[in-house]
């Protein structure tokens, strides 16, 4: 006579603990998102370098992108695109002042880890000879940790810098990102570079 013994697969207590820990972690990260909307304002200003050579520096802003902080929920990775409220500006008007608003609007509150100011085109007109020159756009996405809290105003001031690179041919003039400031309800909370 053959005796069949069907053994019930047993799960070890350690495995249960790990599973509970993972579920708890996912639940916490899943529920940690703040609900509601806040106001985000993105401003642009110029950090005075070579802009004095120009009578006009026209920047066409394509979009402003934010990268939400996703933690371990990497499947939520992606850029949040914001349509600019102002898509054309003359940077020479915003040298070392509070700058100009390129986006202001309500967005879902949350934490973010990067900003990308996508510029479609930059054209400059030199003071001398009123000649139009192309400016190389070197503005790239930058890691910037900030949060938009429900009902609060978060302002990001992006500091652009026009650099004269003519002593490094074939480069001529470049638009670079010099730094940023983050304000929460008008109070400065982060500034790079400091000072």
């Amino acid at each position: 006579m053959r005796i069949c013994v069907h053994r019930r697969p047993e799960i070890r207590p350690t495995t249960y603990r790990i599973l509970y820990a993972v579920l708890f972690f996912l639940a916490v990260t899943g529920c940690s998102r703040q609900s509601g909307t806040g106001i985000l304002e993105v401003r642009i200003k110029d950090h005075e370098e070579a802009i004095g050579y120009f009578s006009k520096v026209n920047i066409a802003v394509e979009t402003v992108r934010l990268s939400p902080k996703v933690g371990f929920r990497f499947w939520h990775l992606g850029w949040l695109k914001l349509n600019p409220t102002l898509d054309q500006l003359d940077l020479t008007q915003f040298v070392n002042n509070s700058g100009v608003t390129v986006f202001k609007g309500e967005i879902d509150s949350g934490n973010f880890e990067a900003v990308d100011l996508k510029i479609r085109n930059v054209q400059g007109i030199l003071r001398q000879g009123s000649k139009e020159v192309a400016i190389d756009n070197k503005v790239k996405p930058v890691a910037l940790s900030f949060s938009v809290n429900p009902g609060e105003l978060t302002t990001i001031v992006i500091d652009l810098s026009l650099m004269d690179m003519s002593d490094h041919p074939p480069a001529t003039y470049e638009l670079q990102l010099a730094g940023y400031e983050v304000y929460n309800n008008g109070k400065l909370v982060d500034k790079v570079p400091p000072g």
Binding site: S67, L77, P141, V142, S166, P169, A171, K191, V192, P194
Partner: protein, 433 residues
Amino acid sequence: MFAIEATASAIGYCILALLLGSLMTAGFLLPQGEPDEFRQQLFSFARKLLPLFVIASIISLVIQGTKLSGGAFPSMDLLFRYLLNTQSGKIWVAREIYAFFLLGGMFWYGRRQHNLTGVRAFLLFSLPLVASRSLTSHAVAVRDHTALAVSADALHLLATAVWAGGLPVLFWILYRGTRRLHLAPSWSAATVNRFSWVALVAVVVLVATGFYQSWVQVQRLDILFATPYGQILTAKVLIFLCMAMIGALNLFSTKPKLLDSARTERLPNWLQRKTLRRIASEAIIGLGVFCVTAILTLLPPGIHSLHQANASAGNQLQAYPERLNIFTWLGYLVTPAPKLQPADGAKITIFSPKEGQVFDSDEIPMRYEFVKGKRGNHLHAYIDGKLMGMFSDPSGGTLTGIQPGRHVLELRVTTDDHVTELDAKDRVDFVVQ
């Protein structure tokens, strides 16, 4: 514009290299300066190269002016301002004046005689014209030991000109001497023998100065492969190795065969052809070296990328992937954030205010311990990220005008350039009522 500028630069290099090569061959390589006909022709050729050098320089000047005027043909006013107000402009003027004097001297001398001493003297006078190119090279921008860097660059230029510029001239005299004038095999053997010694010394100088310059301008292996300057430099080294291999072939194979033929006083046709073919190959590769060098002089040195990275670290901006997916995002996560400059022994510890301390007035007295270390000079005091003051006192100071509310005080050690902040900082929260 870049291609035109590189071409003009390469032509300028080739002209000066041929000038040195012709005068060196006329003055030192021809056995006893013989035959006279060659010496005269080479001297005359060198003289004709000088006006070409002036023309190439004018073209380079116009290109420079075009760049400065944003792509338009430059005005005379702009060119004059460039020539009189910039260092490279002044050096351009000095070199042209020198070239005119050299040309005048060569004309005056060439109409009277062509003796060996005179040719050698003009070779000597030509050296500053070639070497002065280093005064507008990347070497001038080297901060430490600038004189050494410029001297190394000048020696590198001279060695390249003597070796690579001498090869086409050697080819020409060997061709003329063996095929047209049917000179004795001992003449060819003696000429090649002398050139091989010159080339050997040139290679030693090139390797030594080349290593030094690469170290100064590149410094790191990753920069060598990651930057356009590093990549072109790698190409130049590879071309140089090819040239050196053919040079070694000539040294260890062609030269002994020519010396053997000199002993037997019989130079077979196959050996003539082989000798000319090998020298021509080496000369053509030498031309490649000039072209690559011309591109290198126009590119920003590789080390600049390191400076840019340092600058980025200095202002603490960290790049973020433009195309966001799991792979680029993981790459961002594992990339270390830009760091402040190393502390090098600098240290700051805040004793007062204490964490959470409450003040009744807008004056905040600070007590701290400040160790300057090797590079530290003073402290930057930030309140909520805003620079509020600078302090050089080693033990304390007072901040004034602090508004009511909760604030963060951060002190950072800074170098004497007032920009570079070191990885030495301390922070504390306090409240003003």
